[in-house]
């Protein structure tokens, strides 16, 4: 039994949401709203951090200095995005380090797309163009999310992601217009990333378990299926323009809905990867755990240095 007081507060809270008034950290909010946001924002942060790994893999092998500088800047941005998001989650009372440990223990999730390997240089193109492209489609509506700190972090993230997508498209288009071998490399990579990119929008609306309440609370503003459809509609013409073929025999323009019909996603594969059985799940988690362990002495040294500096200041 909820007491009257809570029901009244919940009504007021929903009225604020309905009036598009942002919720700020110290405002009253339902426990479930807080929990949902902490889960979503920290998963999002983990995704940014784990997302550095597939691309970090190619920094030393970038084909020229320009590409290397760009890739470095992009990977650094992803680290920054992770940090904006961890600090947004902390405004809700989430413990940053505990949440990172939850990820390392396999309790907290991150985006499954990063459990796919980056096998060729063309994958750097596809990750930027398709993976960041799909992420942008997901993130643009989050700029209007009801929770202030999350929405503000998303504004920064979206601004920075647009460079990511363009650099990925540039790599893809350069390869697609290159030698026959380069074009084949681009197509092979496109074939591997297309379906996982579509899975990034999550389960279908009919099966998505978190959607209804998140929509009511304006944490989520557009449904998974709608976002997926938008992504297909904008990406197919981009692929066609640079001469790549969509690996989907069922893809065709539907005049009536003014959008593309596309084939059925392999949800079995999606579930397997979410459950930890994707090609790189273990490798990614191992890399993150190792990074934390190997960085420990740096964090300890910084703390010791800060204490020393403080003591010196006190003495002078």
């Amino acid at each position: 039994m909820k007491d009257i007081n809570i029901e009244e507060k919940e009504r007021e809270f929903q009225a604020k949401i309905d009036a598009n008034i942002k919720i700020e950290p110290n405002d009253w909010m339902p426990a479930e709203y807080r929990k949902t946001l902490i889960r979503q924002i920290s998963q999002h942060a983990h995704s940014e951090i784990v997302g550095m790994l597939p691309e970090g893999n190619w920094i030393t092998r970038a084909p020229n200095l320009r590409r290397k500088a760009v890739l470095l800047a992009k990977v650094q941005d992803e680290a920054g995005h992770g940090l904006y998001l961890y600090s947004a989650a902390e405004t809700l009372g989430s413990d940053r380090e505990a949440s990172i440990d939850d990820m390392h223990a396999g309790i907290a999730k991150y985006s499954s797309i990063f459990n796919y390997p980056t096998l060729s240089w063309a994958d750097m193109g596809m990750v930027g163009w398709l993976v960041d492209g799909a992420a942008i489609s997901n993130q643009v509506p989050l700029c209007r999310c009801s929770y202030g700190p999350y929405a503000r972090a998303m504004v920064r993230v979206c601004k920075e992601e647009s460079f990511h997508q363009r650099q990925g498209f540039e790599i893809s288009s350069t390869l697609a217009n290159g030698t026959p071998e380069q074009k084949a490399m681009a197509q092979e990579s496109f074939n591997r990333w297309w379906w996982p990119a579509l899975m990034m929008f999550g389960p279908t609306d009919a099966t998505s378990k978190h959607s209804a309440l998140s929509m009511q609370w304006k944490i989520k503003r557009v449904s998974n299926d709608e976002l997926r459809q938008q992504f297909v509609n904008v990406t197919v013409p981009q692929a066609t323009l640079i001469g790549l073929t969509i690996p989907d025999p069922d893809l065709k323009w539907n005049e009536e809905k003014q959008g593309y019909d596309f084939g059925t996603i392999n949800w079995e594969e999606f579930n397997q990867v979410v459950q930890g059985n994707g090609p790189c799940n273990k490798e990614r988690l191992d890399a993150r755990r190792k990074a934390k362990e190997n960085g420990l002495w740096v964090r300890e040294a910084a703390t010791a240095h800060a204490e020393k500096r403080k003591a010196k200041k006190m003495a002078s």
Binding site: E24, N26, D27, W28, A73, Q76, D77, G80, L83, Y84, S87, A88, E90, T91, D95, R96, E97, A98, D101, P149, R152, A153, E160, R299, E300, A302, T303, H305, A306, R309, K310
Partner: protein, 95 residues
């Protein structure tokens, strides 16, 4: 492990001379100097600022949202503090 975590700092950035510092977010760092260096990397990768302030989050005192009504409502009734409250005859210029 969590007890060893660095303190949280609020970060304020002045985007250019003539504008005030504006809150942009927070980060963790061992001390103030470390916080400024981290803020440089996290919040000014695209020339967003020319000056950084950091304040340890626990030192920020904030008004309670529950008291917002009693704090801010009194201003609502004092519409005579705005120039639009006053009647000015047609034809009066530069006022």
């Amino acid at each position: 492990m969590s007890s060893n975590e660095w303190p949280l700092w609020e970060v304020f950035i002045r985007s250019k001379q003539g504008l005030s510092h504006k809150h942009v977010g927070s980060l963790r760092a061992a001390d103030a100097e470390n916080a400024i260096n981290n803020a440089r990397d996290v919040y000014t990768r695209r020339s967003e600022g020319i000056s950084i302030w950091v304040v340890e989050s626990k030192l920020v005192a904030a008004s309670d949202p529950k008291e917002a009504d009693s704090l801010f409502d009194p201003a609502d009734t004092k519409i005579y503090r705005h120039p639009t409250f006053y009647d000015v005859p047609d034809g009066i210029m530069h006022m």
